[in-house]
């Protein structure tokens, strides 16, 4: 449940949303992704107002406008690694050759290029999350949403995943990340939003004290 929340995220920002369980972090991300609808208020992503969009329009918006990384990866178990990545490109109507090349490039960058033909069941948690990152980035989305991307990983693997996200952010990728791990967020995010009971309780830049 969100209550009176007003938030703007600039292009190219790496924004982390912090807060305890039930604070509304995931709800915020779901609203931005068009997976959930606000009972009142508006959500605008890249100039596109989501209010009033039908299910089909929202689906089309998600294909190219949003990349989503889930806590539990949510890979399709019956597709191999590269096909898990390609399915998103295919849904977005990408060209086959270009999409394959980009998928392989992303997997290589994420250090799992050699596992392109493996199935998710054979991958570690960290590897699965890298596949999820590749899938989320394949369509060059306006915003990359990450909901507790390290929540199911050990701390070392979580650190690696965050470093990967930072690397993509440094190349201009806008990222909105939800997490409850203060230390991890403090080390990587440039802007930190604090929430409690659906309300915005703080908004600070990295290195600043909470405003």
């Amino acid at each position: 449940m969100l209550d009176g929340l007003s938030l703007q995220v600039a292009d190219g920002e790496f924004t982390a949303v912090m807060g305890p369980s039930g604070s509304g972090k995931s709800t915020l991300l779901n609203l931005v992704a068009g997976l959930d609808r606000p009972t009142s208020g508006t959500v605008t992503v890249g100039g596109t107002r989501l209010a009033g969009m039908g299910e089909t329009e929202l689906a089309r918006f998600r294909r190219s406008g949003i990349g989503f990384i889930f806590q539990f990866f949510h890979l399709l178990n019956n597709l191999c690694v590269v096909d898990n990545v390609l399915i998103a490109a295919q849904l977005a109507g990408g060209q086959e050759a270009a999409s394959r090349a980009r998928a392989q490039q992303l997997l290589d960058e994420l250090g799992i290029g050699a596992k392109a033909r493996e199935y998710p069941a054979k991958l570690s948690g960290g590897e699965r999350q890298r596949v999820a990152i590749a899938r989320a980035l394949i369509n060059r989305p306006a915003v990359l949403l990450a909901d507790e991307p390290t929540g199911a990983l050990d701390s070392s693997t979580g650190e690696q995943v965050m470093e990967l996200l930072v690397a993509f952010n440094q190349r201009g990728q806008t990222i909105l990340l939800a997490s409850h791990d203060l230390q991890l967020v403090a080390r990587h995010a440039r802007r930190v939003i604090n929430m409690r009971d659906g309300k915005l309780t703080g908004d600070s830049q990295a290195g600043e004290s909470e405003r």
């Binding site: 299910e55 689906a59 998600r62 949510h74 019956n78 597709l79 399915i87 977005a92 086959e96 069941a121």
Partner: protein, 764 residues
């Protein structure tokens, strides 16, 4: 037992939709089982059933009133070996007329339709209540367009009394040309010097074979003056004649019942097995908390049997209701009384077999899963793992939703296979039924005689020469062939052989030859392809005992005709020099008006010639309509069951894949694409089932038609009707399989499209 029941009942409550599907499918299965079982019983021994219901007699004997009086005949009731009898009734052949159409009826004076034996069952109207009324057989009424209230003019006396038709009856005598009037009224219908007989019906202590019946008849004859017994008919002859005449409808009913039951069994087993396979994860959890393999099996069996038992309450009466029109039509086509659609024995068996099948279909996969270790069962049930489940994305020319759907169809190969088999069984059954239907219609065409249009029969003592004169004098007569039908003895064959003897240019009758040629003169014969239980072949010689003499006959051909042996009069004349034809087949000149011709000949000799146009083959009832009704019933029920099978399979798959569907939606798959994916999954199963069902149905048709022909002693095989399948119809049937699958997919697809992404993914 308590935990088993707790878990089973909880599952029934939790999986309400699946329980509803099992309930509906079980209800339809029990309905078909009840229908099929009843039809099966009908086709196995319909005559015997009617014989028992109507207290059929072993023998009907006719006594000459000039040799014996009524009390002498009545006294035969107490002869040794006679266990029951009814009669005697006064009896005579009476010509009738209605709107210039003539009929010859064997009329009995009988006041009471009931009695210990030979009961007449009134199926329309009522029994006679006094003079001036007549009751006829239902076959006669249907064949001659006679309805209750019609008035028949008796032509036997100058007074020409008129009788009102008040009822239609059925009994165990297959001869349709019979009527009943009050016992005192017969004298007014016939001339004073007309020949009258008594008829009496008997049951004997021993009457299982023709030899028994002959011995019983000898006792009757010996007790009366010589020549008193003018004729007789045994129930064995009636039964054989009945079975032969109704072989078509019996064949179809038998095939319909057997194939429909088999198809329903396959589909029901698939649905139930599919439902259990979907519960593998549950099985693993049950085992993990201490359920034994036996208890696991019991949970699933009870879970499936609970809705199935409830289905029995609906299915049995539904089966009775659905059977009634089929049974009525079949009974009408077979000239038998309509049986009660409530057959408790058959219904109980249908119920027991259906429940047994469902229990077995549930027990087998549950037993298999019950023997797995808990982790394997959970793993098997939790994800579509395995090499069949894995697939590649990369079919870029086809929309991705379709490629995913096609892949999903066999992600679980066993469940996908079972669903395809359910469609296959439905399509194969309909292909089989349509082939058989077409073959039966072609079978009728084979026996049609388009070259001849009219038959004439001599009545009373009217002579052969006078008949020929009347016929030849009409300018529209082109050709007349005389005909006489006999049964002859052939050494080595236990039963009399039906023979037709032709006088004249019989080769022009237009009988279609299956092999060889028509007979060309004395010593040659043609064998009918239908009634040839002796398997006589072209080139073989048969020694027939005809009219006390021996006639060696070389078989020169086989034809599509309803007699066993046919020969020329030149073979018959040497052993029966004074014999004459009794019936005449007339070919008219081109362009002649058949009805006008029949009217002219009837008017020329109104009292002694029975002239009729040659009608289509059959008993006067619309066999095509009966077959149509059965094929439609079969199509509707099989379609419903197969559709529900697909629905059930997709429901399970959709429920199982809800997480994947949510992920795909999160990645941007639209509701329309989700629908297309699920529908494509069903479509490919329907296509596989439909396409494979076509050759399976054709193979089933060939195998069963050949097997039934062998059993029935027919020389006809499936090869006799090479074009029984219309290619367009086959394509439509394959598409019907796809359509049924698509219909079954609509609801699961819509539910899948509405999957709430956030709820599903947040529950993980």
């Amino acid at each position: 037992m308590r935990p088993v029941l707790t878990k089973a009942i909880a599952d029934v409550r939790r999986h309400r939709l699946q329980t509803l599907v099992v309930f509906v499918i079980a209800a339809l299965a029990i309905t078909v089982g009840s229908m099929g079982g009843t039809l099966l019983v009908q086709t196995t021994s319909p005559y015997d059933r009617a014989f028992a219901d109507l207290a059929g007699p072993h023998l009907i004997a006719v006594f000459d009133t000039q040799k014996v009086n009524q009390s002498q005949v009545a006294a035969t009731a107490s002869l040794p070996g006679v266990t029951a009898s009814v009669g005697p009734w006064i009896y005579a052949a009476v010509p009738f007329e209605k709107n210039k159409a003539k009929f010859a009826l064997s009329v009995l004076g009988r006041d009471d339709p009931d009695g210990k034996l030979d009961r007449e069952q009134v199926v329309v109207g009522r029994w006679i209540q006094g003079p001036g009324e007549i009751v006829v057989t239902r076959s006669f009424a249907a064949g001659n367009q006679i309805a209750i209230g019609d008035r028949l003019t008796a032509l036997g006396t100058p007074a020409k009394p008129v009788l009102a038709v008040v009822g239609e009856v059925v009994d165990v005598d297959p001869n349709p040309n019979r009527g009943w009037i009050s016992s005192g009224a017969l004298a007014s219908l016939v001339a004073a010097d007309a020949h009258l007989d008594y008829e009496m019906a008997y049951r004997f202590q021993t009457a299982t074979s023709r030899a028994d019946i002959r011995a019983d008849l000898n006792i009757l004859s010996a007790a009366l003056p010589p020549g008193a017994v003018a004729g007789s008919a045994s129930y064995l002859d009636f039964r054989d004649g009945y079975n032969f005449n109704n072989s078509l409808i019996l064949t179809f009913l038998l095939a319909f019942a057997v194939v429909a039951l088999a198809a329903v069994a396959v589909i029901v087993a698939n649905v139930v097995a599919g439902a259990v396979l979907a519960g593998y994860r549950d099985i693993g959890i049950m085992k993990a908390i201490g359920f034994s393999p036996r208890q696991v099996v019991m949970v699933f069996v009870i879970q499936m049997l609970l809705p199935a038992l409830a289905a029995g309450v609906v299915g049995v009466p539904l089966g009775a209701i659905a059977s009634k029109p089929l049974l009525d039509q079949a009974a009408q086509a077979m000239s038998l009384p309509p049986p009660s659609p409530l057959a408790p024995g058959v219904d109980l068996i249908a119920l027991a077999v259906s429940l047994g099948l469902i229990a077995l279909a549930a027990a087998l996969p549950a037993w298999r899963a019950g023997r797995m270790d808990a982790v394997t069962a959970i793993t098997t049930g939790a994800a579509p793992a395995g090499r069949y489940a894995n697939r590649r994305v990369g079919w870029w020319r086809v929309p991705e939703a379709l490629t995913l759907g096609v892949g999903d169809a066999f992600a679980r190969p066993l469940r996908g296979g079972l669903t395809a088999v359910a469609i296959l069984a439905g399509v194969a059954t309909l292909v089989f039924a349509s082939g058989l239907y077409s073959a039966i219609l072609k079978f009728n065409d084979l026996f049609a005689q388009p070259a001849f249009q009219v038959t004439a029969s001599r009545l009373g003592g009217y002579s052969d020469a006078a008949t020929i004169d009347v016929l030849q004098q009409d300018s529209e007569t082109n050709l007349v062939v005389g005909e006489r039908q006999l049964t002859v003895a052939v050494p080595g064959q236990p039963d009399p052989v039906p023979m037709t003897i032709f006088r004249g240019r019989s080769q022009q009758l237009g009988y279609r030859m299956a092999e060889g040629r028509w007979f060309g003169g004395p010593g040659e014969a043609v064998v009918g392809v239908v009634l040839n239980p002796y398997h006589w072949r072209v080139g073989q010689t048969v020694d027939a005992q005809v009219a006390g003499g021996q006639v060696p006959l070389r078989i020169v051909g086989t034809c599509y005709c309803f007699w066993t042996l046919g020969m020329d009069w030149s073979s018959y004349a040497p052993v029966a020099p004074t014999a004459e034809p009794t019936d005449y087949i007339v070919q008219l000149r081109p362009g002649a008006n058949v009805d006008a011709y029949v009217g002219r000949i009837s008017a020329a000799q109104p009292d002694f010639l029975l002239v009729q146009p040659i009608s289509t083959f059959g008993s006067g009832f619309d066999i095509e309509a009966a077959l149509d009704a059965m094929v439609v019933a079969l199509a509707v029920i099989l379609g419903a069951i197969a559709g529900l099978g697909v629905f059930n399979a997709l429901l399970l798959t959709t429920r199982e894949r809800v997480r994947d569907i949510a992920i795909l939606k999160a990645l941007g798959m639209t509701p329309g694409q989700v629908t297309a994916m699920v529908v494509a999954s069903a479509g490919v199963l329907g296509l596989v089932g439909g396409v494979v069902g076509i050759p399976a149905g054709i193979g089933l048709y060939r195998y069963l038609v050949d097997a039934m022909a062998r059993v029935a002693g027919f020389s006809i095989t499936s090869g006799t009707f090479p074009n029984s399948f219309d290619p367009v119809q086959l394509v439509l049937l394959a598409l019907a399989g796809v359509l049924v699958a698509l219909l079954g997919a609509i609801l699961p697809a819509r539910w899948a499209a509405r999957t709430a992404v956030v709820n599903v993914l947040n529950l993980e």
